[in-house]
């Protein structure tokens, strides 16, 4: 099919969909509701009507699939309470109430998730364990968004930082470096703030809370080390170099059980178990904080809430960075390196910082994942993983944190459960026998392709990024010219 034809088709389709929407006033006018009268209503009335219409629509769509369901009703009630009342009129705190309400809904998720209804096609809501994995992916997405979305550097080896984070947590919270004396007893002990770990156990056992930070710092140092020589390369070369690192590091992890005679990574089995996350018994007795996540009855819930805190910190930092001087420098570089440099932005330092911050978040996410699964395993770190996180950023909308949040949560859900459910639904209703999860990455490829071709700024784009895609940018890299000049000078 010709592409122009395709474009025309798309346009026609859009028109066909938009026409009834535009014609709505004609229809409503027939029953006495004109646009002027609608605009005259108080905002609360209008919102109530909107919420009601949405509920009716949901009922029409949902009923054939799962029937009327109390869970769906409660969802609608929660939505309506957050949306309809004029919260913004309350001074000072008012405008934060809907957002805080949403947060509360997410925080309370472990208490009601088993009572929820089944979404048509996609299947049931994820359980809390899946929820933790989703939140970790969201964190990674927000981290990669700093590199790809803000600074416009394509990183195809993000998994390397994730792996480094996981391993740095595993090294310092397990028996990995215990060593052995002649009589078989462990040679090295170092305990610092670890919880429920036998003091006779060898190896390094540092408090996992400290390790989250240590993992981030370690990873961002490595990120800077990788970045310094490579960030001057033009975008596509940078992509290849990061891809190379993303392939090298997992191989080092796989072969690392015998690095010059040292067992660094325990090879293909990986390192595990890790020390449990928790606040310890003193704090537990004093103010009732959970002592040990692994042994707690509601361990998954505790990991879920901690992950929410981490995601909140990441999102907050990410939003603040976006508006800071550094964030504006990133965007300037993304749009026009030459002009940015001429305005006095130090290119290398700014790019390296983007890389380091992205690496930091990736490292913390990796460490948290390792603590959650209590292992660091080289098999989970492949190129597919890097591309998966990239799809999250691009689907949601490069540069827009809210878009990335949405894209990451949706794709992580697809990865964990949604694809299998959708496949089962398709097979059941269309009489097919396709193993849909087998084609997971083909499906991501198609998503990526469609987004790049038809909506390159993502589903929820950042206004500025959208403009760049529409008007074009001058992103010829600067250092190419400098390398050329160096060599010209050398030849003279």
């Amino acid at each position: 099919m010709d592409l122009d034809e395709l474009r025309r088709l798309r346009h026609d389709l859009r028109e066909a969909l938009a026409r009834p929407w535009r014609a709505r006033w004609t229809a409503l006018g027939a029953v006495g509701l004109t646009e002027e009268r609608w605009r005259g209503w108080p905002v609360t009335y209008r919102r109530a009507v909107n919420a009601g219409a949405l509920g009716l629509l949901a009922l029409v769509v949902l009923a054939p699939f799962s029937g009327f369901d109390l869970g769906a009703l409660y969802t609608w009630i929660v939505f309506a309470t957050l949306y309809v009342p004029p919260w913004e009129r309350i001074p000072l705190v008012g405008r934060y109430i809907p957002a805080l309400g949403m947060l509360l809904v997410v925080v309370l998720y472990p208490f009601y998730n088993d009572k929820l209804y089944t979404v048509p096609i996609l299947g049931a809501f994820p359980d809390v364990h899946t929820g933790v994995v989703m939140l970790i992916f969201v964190m990674m997405g927000v981290g990669l968004n700093v590199v790809v979305g803000y600074a416009g550097l394509l990183d195809l080896g993000y998994v390397a930082f994730y792996a480094l984070g996981a391993y740095s947590a595993a090294w310092f919270a397990s028996v990995q470096f215990a060593g052995q004396n002649a009589n078989g007893s462990p040679k090295r002990f170092w305990h610092f703030g670890s919880i429920d770990v036998d003091k006779a156990l060898g190896g390094i056992h540092i408090s996992p809370w400290i390790l989250l930070i240590v993992a981030g710092i370690f990873t961002s140092l490595i990120g800077m080390l990788i970045g310094l020589p490579t960030l001057r390369l033009r975008g596509d070369y940078l992509a290849i170099v990061t891809l190379g690192f993303g392939e090298i590091l997992p191989q080092v992890a796989r072969n690392g059980d015998n690095l010059f005679g040292q067992n660094l990574t325990n090879g293909p089995q990986g390192i595990g178990p890790l020390d449990p996350l928790g606040f310890g018994h003193t704090l537990h007795r004093a103010i009732g904080l959970p002592a040990n996540y692994q042994t707690a009855a509601n361990g998954d819930d505790l990991f879920f809430w901690t992950a929410i805190v981490l995601v909140l910190i990441t999102v907050f930092c990410s939003l603040r960075l976006r508006g800071s001087k550094l964030g504006r420098a990133w965007i300037a570089i993304r749009e026009d390196e030459t002009a940015a440099s001429a305005m006095g932005i130090p290119l290398m330092r700014t790019k390296t910082l983007a890389y380091a911050i992205g690496a930091f978040i990736g490292g913390v996410a990796g460490a948290y994942f390792a603590l959650f699964t209590s292992s660091a395993n080289p098999d989970s770190f492949s190129l597919n993983f890097s591309v998966f996180v990239l799809v999250m950023v691009i689907l949601g909308g490069m540069g827009n944190v809210w878009g990335v949040l949405f894209g990451a949560a949706f794709l992580a859900y697809l990865d964990q459960a949604g694809l299998a459910n959708t496949g089962a639904w398709l097979n059941q209703h269309l009489g097919l026998t396709i193993d849909v999860p087998k084609y997971e990455f083909g499906i991501y490829g198609v998503i990526l392709l469609i987004v790049m071709l038809f909506r390159p700024h993502g589903l929820i784009p950042e206004a500025r990024r959208k403009m760049e895609f529409e008007l074009g940018v001058h992103d010829e890299p600067l250092y190419d010219a400098v390398v050329g000049a160096d060599h010209a000078a050398g030849a003279e």
Binding site: L154, L228, L233, E247, I248, R349, I394, A481, V482
Partner: protein
Amino acid sequence: MVETTAPRMDALGDLRKRVQRVGPLVGGSLVLLLIVWLAINLAKDPATFTKAFLIGVTNGSVYALVALGYTLVYGILELINFAHGDVFMLGGMMSATMMVSVFSIGTGESAGTLWPALLASLAVAMVFCGVLNASIERVAYRRLRNAPRLAPLITAIAMSFILQNVGIAWKGPNYVSLPVGILPHGTIFTIGKNAYHWDDLIVVLLTVPVLLALNWLVQYTKQGKAMRATAQDREAAAMMGIDVNRTISFTFLIAGGLAGAAGLIYATYFTSIRFDQGFQLGLFAFTAAVLGGIGNLPGAVLGALFIGLVQSFNNTLGWHAPGSDWTQSIVFSILILILVFRPEGILGERTPEGG
């Protein structure tokens, strides 16, 4: 590339300059170490060394065909076509289908049955991959030609994943195997204990004429001239009456054809191919293209031979070779070192075809 006055450098930029100055020193000592290591290996065990060398040349020939495709496309569009390795993989699968299902070639067929089938499969695989590659360009890359740089690159990755899944859907997630010993396996010559067989030679023999033909096409035909002009300056070429879209399509067609030929050789020589091998081999071939100077045709072949030799020396040699567990790391380290210290590659021309 237009020379610009050097912009204000910050401290890191100065560091970079210093790194670049020591670059040749580091590179030189690395090469020296490599030579010493090879010489010791040669002295200790000449038979293994020769064997490794011959395997390396054969591997390198396959890499060369794929690397040429990367270099051609990069030369004309400045796009790393990540999907190229997967086009190669589908070419291999097409060849497997042709040889096994269509011509039912088994082990040790007579020359009369083998050669027509092989040539017919070659033609089919080349046309298949060429058309596939050109249609990828038409569907996925053409509309993004003026988009920000990231867009076509991400699209190329998307295409790569899609093609891999086409491979899964077509042949399943396991190895597709061909009968072992499809190609004639008679001995040509023997060095020490090592025999060089006809099938090794066929691989090299197929690569050399393809390279010569490609060189002729690019240097001496009108179409080649159009390709060179488009690579240098797309707008100026269009003003001179060159149909830029057609030229780019033609380049993708040629690159795909080369990948198809490589696919046939790979499938018949190694007698098994899997959906994800294309991407891996593609990355090695891309390393080869960068090593030789991306956009430079003889450079790509030279780089491919080098990568083939590195791989086989590393896997086969006995004295202090890291072994096949580390091949990937070594090849990608070479890639990174080259990109950091000498992005223009060994043969050192930035634009293709001498531009």
